[in-house]
Amino acid sequence: MNNIPFITIMLTMVGSIAALLLGKKEKTAYMLMQVIFAVVAVLTFLLIPHFVREGGTVTYQLGHFPAPWGNELRFGLMESVLAFVFSAVMFLAVLGGKSGMKEDVQECKRNCYYSLLLLVLLSLLALIYTNDIFTAYVFIEINTVAACGIVMVRESGETLKATIKYLFMSLMASGLFLISIAMLYSVTGQLLIPSLNGAIAGLVSGGSYAWPLMTAAVLMTVSLGVKSAMFPFHTWLPDAHGTATTSSSSILSGVVVKGYIILLIKIYYRVFGIETIKNMGILNVVFWLGIVGMIVGSVLAIRERNLKRMIAYSSVAQIGYIYAGIGVGTVAALGAALFHMIVHAFTKPLLFSSAGGLIEASGHSKLIADMTGAGRRNKWAGAGFVIGTCSMVGVPFFAGFTSKVYLAMNAQDKGIIFLAALAISSCLNAIYYLPVALRIFSKAPEVATAQAENAAEESVPAISIACFSVINIALGVAGIVVITILAQGVQIL
């Protein structure tokens, strides 16, 4: 049972290498990838009841030597839930983007795409489970290169520009992360997270090396903020997520940015200790950047004419919610932020897959103006989009409503500001989502129906859209179950 995380990591690695070798047999590579996603999801799902019963965390030694000398993994309830969510989302997202993938990616190179997707899952699993910051750095690099790769699989001029922007900003952030690791190492001499925690606690109570510690924390925040599109550093996100192929956008928005946020949470809680971060004032800044991000993301989304870019801007807003939740500083708010992370991980791929279907039903035009009546042509995509909209806006019984309520309930002393920002943001969400939802179901002019794709071949994305919708409604209605599990998980942070 304890070997499961390591086995899943190794399995994904083997799968990605095998997918590259299967150059000619593209179908086999696709099946291999989906099978590995499914197996990883099932295996990590088995861990969840185990940890609910037993509680606590397991420290898994990677090799024959214990903590400060050898490497370790550490996992508990929170990590298992997140790993399960990520692998399930990736499985469904690839299903949802299958028709888009057929058009956007050349057939002879599709196995490289599958290999890159498996590498994304590998790096996410390793980031979730790692107990060492240098291992985290190495897997951040894998994630960066693989994520830029999956944007680039759709070879066009706009994805080229988007990939270059994303790559350079990400690599700059990686450089910052590495120099902060170097600084932390030079003042503490440790790389394993529990040992670092002990050493930093000692330094903070002794009052020495305060400035280097703060610099390291700030640089790590900036670096992971750039990679996960925190407010002032979000400029790469609309280009990258808006121009990529449907499955890539879903995976990027749904899980890749979340992996970095989880690493930042680990650094705040397990490396520095949340009290230290609060005393440095960083948490306050993160909170305000989250609030501003909520509002700015929605405002920028209103002006967009391109459907996918609009959904990408709305991702910026949702990530703002998560950072505001982290910025409050209490463990309960952290649980709410994690729940919102999971909800967003299921909702954004739903929206992107539906958008993919709608785009195909409108003659491959991404402009909203061309999508009149697309929901009638592709019923599954239309229904999925409406469900996603309800969740984003915050209609009761949908997942978005539950997560927003829970965030607002746990906002503690920053409650008023949070509630106000939530209210404004929900109104703004409605302003840009509802017109699209109405437009796709209105009567189409004759010219547009002539361009309609045959909806019969969309059965595979339909399955994915249906699954996401069901999960969304389930989280909305029965979200309290997941929330209690998460609350139990974060207590042990």
Binding site: V145, F168, Y185
Partner: protein, 125 residues
């Protein structure tokens, strides 16, 4: 401010880091941006390698079975630098491949000019 001039390796590394960062941000040529990225990464390796040094001690290859730890420098940062160099090579390779494709698409390596030209072409169409 006590160690500022004793830590000259780290000082040089940090200044190179900022130089590399500014090259990455301010240059318009893609290849020069990639060079700036490399300077940034290399400066971090200098920083890390300097962290391992202990004055008056030898490199960490055990000689004649003498395993007294006070004779050798710290081996851990050297391992970190090895890993870092390989990572930097990989990311540079990816960035250069993108630069080649960029040149194929826009026939220029100038980031601003390519964007402008593209916008103009779109306007013409």
């Amino acid at each position: 401010m006590n160690n500022l001039f004793n830590n000259y390796y780290e000082l040089a590394a940090v200044i190179l880091f900022v130089v590399g960062l500014l090259i990455l941000l301010l240059q318009r040529n893609l290849i020069k941006k990639i060079i700036g990225l490399n300077i940034m990464d290399t400066s971090v390796f200098l920083f890390l390698a300097a962290k391992g040094y202990i004055a008056g001690r030898f490199s960490p290859i055990i000689r004649d079975g003498v395993t007294d730890a006070s004779l050798y420098i710290n081996p851990l940062p050297s391992g970190l630098v090895l890993t870092g160099i390989v990572v930097a090579v990989s990311t540079t390779a990816f960035a250069l491949a993108l630069a080649l494709r960029w040149y194929q698409q826009y026939h220029t390596l100038d980031v601003d000019a390519a964007v402008l030209k593209n916008a103009l072409k779109k306007g013409e169409q």
